[in-house]
Every structure is written in structure tokens, then in C-alpha cells.
Symmetry: C2
């Protein structure tokens, strides 16, 4: 509750985030974290109880932060005359966000610690990919109802869009650590490719019979 306490807690969490992201869970050193935070090691234990406690608190906080940030930009994307251009700009922004160095590093950290902290990984998954699918599915359902896209199964389309866009760069980023997603131009090109393929499948511009549907 108090005032100073909050500052200390923040400082600890900030330093801890950097340390965990830099070297992973095991490599992070509480002595180093405490001194980087300008705080006594005892204070860390008063706040978080243990290294695990600190880690859990940290990841949970990051999950909430990401949740609030993503809630904003995923809203209301259907109100333009040009669906294709809308999808393109959305795809670029989406890719840019997910491929940010911070999120990529977080992703690697959560994946690496998933065996030891399965609940955290589960929470991350639900607030990340799974929420993303649902939001996208809603979007595609709307676009289908408005006749701007031809989407037989919105959930399948949401997954398709997500991984057409993110699969290759995210996978590469997991293995090539420094590769911060190459340059913005290449990312934009990647996003455009993804949208193009997506539109080949779901664009309104031609009849598809793959699930038995035809245009009137």
C-alpha cells in the first residue's frame, strides 16, 4: 500500500525483466537484479518471496500489460471502403507489434520456461494467440456478412490469416536470435504477401467451390 514500497517494487520488476530477458530464468541472478534495481536483496524477498515468485509476478504483469495494449488497436477495422487496403495495413501493424523485439524475447522466455511454469505459459497463450483468433474471427464474420469477403468458416480464416502472416517471421525469430525481424520494408512486403494469399482464398472476387458454396 505505502508509497515508497511501490517504487521499489517497480524498480525490482523492471530490473528483473531485463535480467530474465537477457539470459533466461536460470542465468538471472538475484544479487545482480537487486543491485541493478538499486534495492537490497532482502527487499526482493519481502516483496516476492522467492525467485519463482518474482518471475511469476513479472510474467503475469506482462500478460496484463499486453492485454491492455492489444485491446486498443484491434478495434473497429471494418469501416473503410477498401477491404484489401484495410487488411494490408492491419496486417502490417499486427506483424510489427508481434515482431517487436520485446514481444519476441518474451515469447522465447515463456516458451523456454513453459515446462517449469506451465500455468504462465497457458495464461500467455490464452491472452495472446487465442484472444487474437477470436478477435479476428469476429472481424471476418462481420466482413462476410457485409459481403466484403467470402468466409465460410471464420475461425479457420482467423487461424489462416494469423499464420500466413506470422508463421515464417516468428519461426525465424525464434531461431535467429539477433534477427530482429529484418528491416521494416521486408516486413511490409511479408505482410503484403500474406494478405495477397489470404485474399486469393477469401477474396470476394471469384467463385470458390472448395466447400460447396457458389456465388449467386
Amino acid at each position: 500500500m505505502p508509497a515508497r514500497s511501490r517504487r521499489k517494487r517497480r524498480a525490482i520488476l523492471d530490473a528483473a525483466l531485463e535480467a530474465f530477458l537477457a539470459g533466461g530464468y536460470d542465468a538471472a541472478n538475484l544479487d545482480a537484479i537487486s543491485s541493478a534495481a538499486g534495492v537490497s536483496k532482502v527487499t526482493i524477498y519481502q516483496h516476492f518471496g522467492s525467485k519463482e515468485g518474482l518471475f511469476v509476478a513479472l510474467i503475469e504483469e506482462e500478460i496484463h500489460r499486453a492485454e491492455h495494449e492489444s485491446d486498443e488497436y484491434l478495434e473497429a477495422r471494418t469501416d473503410s471502403p477498401d477491404v484489401e487496403e484495410d487488411l494490408r495495413s492491419f496486417a502490417r501493424e499486427f506483424l510489427e507489434t508481434v515482431m517487436s523485439p520485446h514481444l519476441v524475447a518474451m515469447r522465447r522466455l515463456v516458451v523456454a520456461t513453459a515446462p517449469r511454469f506451465p500455468a504462465l505459459a497457458e495464461a500467455w497463450f490464452r491472452n495472446g494467440p487465442e484472444r487474437g483468433y477470436e478477435t479476428l474471427a469476429d472481424l471476418f464474420r462481420r466482413l462476410d456478412e457485409q459481403g466484403r469477403l467470402r468466409v465460410p468458416d471464420a475461425r479457420v480464416a482467423a487461424r489462416a490469416f494469423t499464420w500466413l502472416l506470422l508463421g515464417a517471421p516468428l519461426n525465424e525469430a525464434m531461431f535467429r536470435v539477433d534477427w530482429a525481424g529484418s528491416d521494416p520494408e521486408q516486413r511490409a512486403a511479408l505482410a503484403d504477401d500474406a494478405v495477397e494469399v489470404f485474399l486469393m482464398a477469401y477474396g470476394r472476387t471469384g467463385p470458390r467451390q472448395a466447400d460447396g458454396e457458389m456465388l449467386p
Copy 2:
């Protein structure tokens, strides 16, 4: 030189693989590995010099093993009358392979250690995803030439196919550790969905204008 030496080496590598996969690099204990391998700890050092040396040798061996295995089943897949069914069965097999518990665990291990062993992660990436792209691109180029598919850019199509198929399950497996890919039926359904979307985009059955091409 070898006779007994080779057996020892094998035993060490087998035990080490299990240990590293079970708990990650840091958790693996050389005393435990040596006793599991029925070998003295000194022998490990005679063979591999250090824990890092052991790990590197192990991963490199796994890379070669995977390389040889994958070389086989990715061959000659274009010689059937029904392309769609071909793609479906190929997708199922591909998904089954990549989602095998062993490969999923290896993937997590390599990703987790990528910051400390970037060369290994790089090698894994090149022998895995990147080789896969090329093989698939060749396949789609052939299918396009034969008029069975309409593939304007084979490299884009290869990435699209890969991630339509693997994106969702692989991502989920990274976060949900026990989730061994759900049951085979669900995986087959997933593969079929992926192929269906892929065919919506690349199927020969309708005119697409997305890159300016039309059917004659």
C-alpha cells in the same frame, strides 16, 4: 581407435538427449547423465571436453539424423491423378512428423538455448524450415507446370502451405507442454482445413486476378 569407445559414446549421447530434453540445458546434470549411461563422468569429459561440448555434439547429431530421415519422405509426391488428395495425405504426414513429441521437444530445447548457442539454432533452422521451404517450392513449381495447381510464386506458396498447416498446432505445442498434439483425428482435421484453405487460394478450379493472371 574405436571399439568399446563407440558404444560408450553412444550411451552417453542417448542419456544426455533424454536429460536435456527432460529439463533443459541447465537442469541437466552430468553426474546423472553419466550414471544413466552406465559410464564414468570422466569418460564424458574424455569424449566431449565439457558440458557445452556434449550439448553441441548432441544437437549436431540430431540435426543430421533429422536431415536423413526427412530426405526420404519428402520425395516424389506428384505422381497421382488427384492432386487434392495427394496434398491432403502429404499434409497429414508432414504434420504428424513435425508434431511428434520428440521433434516438438527438440524444437523447444533449441529455441530455449538459441541465445547461448546461436550457431546450433542457425543450423537447425537451415536444415529444418528452410530446407522444407525449398522442397515444397520445388513441388509447387512442378504442380504449376503440370497445370494441376495455379501457383504464381512458388516460394510464397511454400511458406503459405507450411504455416497454414503448422502454425497453429506448433504454436500451441510450444505453450501447452503436455498437449502432445491432441489426438490424431484432430490433427487430420487440422491438416484438411489447411489444405482446403490452400486450395481456395491455389486450386486450379477458378480464375484469380490477385497478381494479374487469368486462366486462358
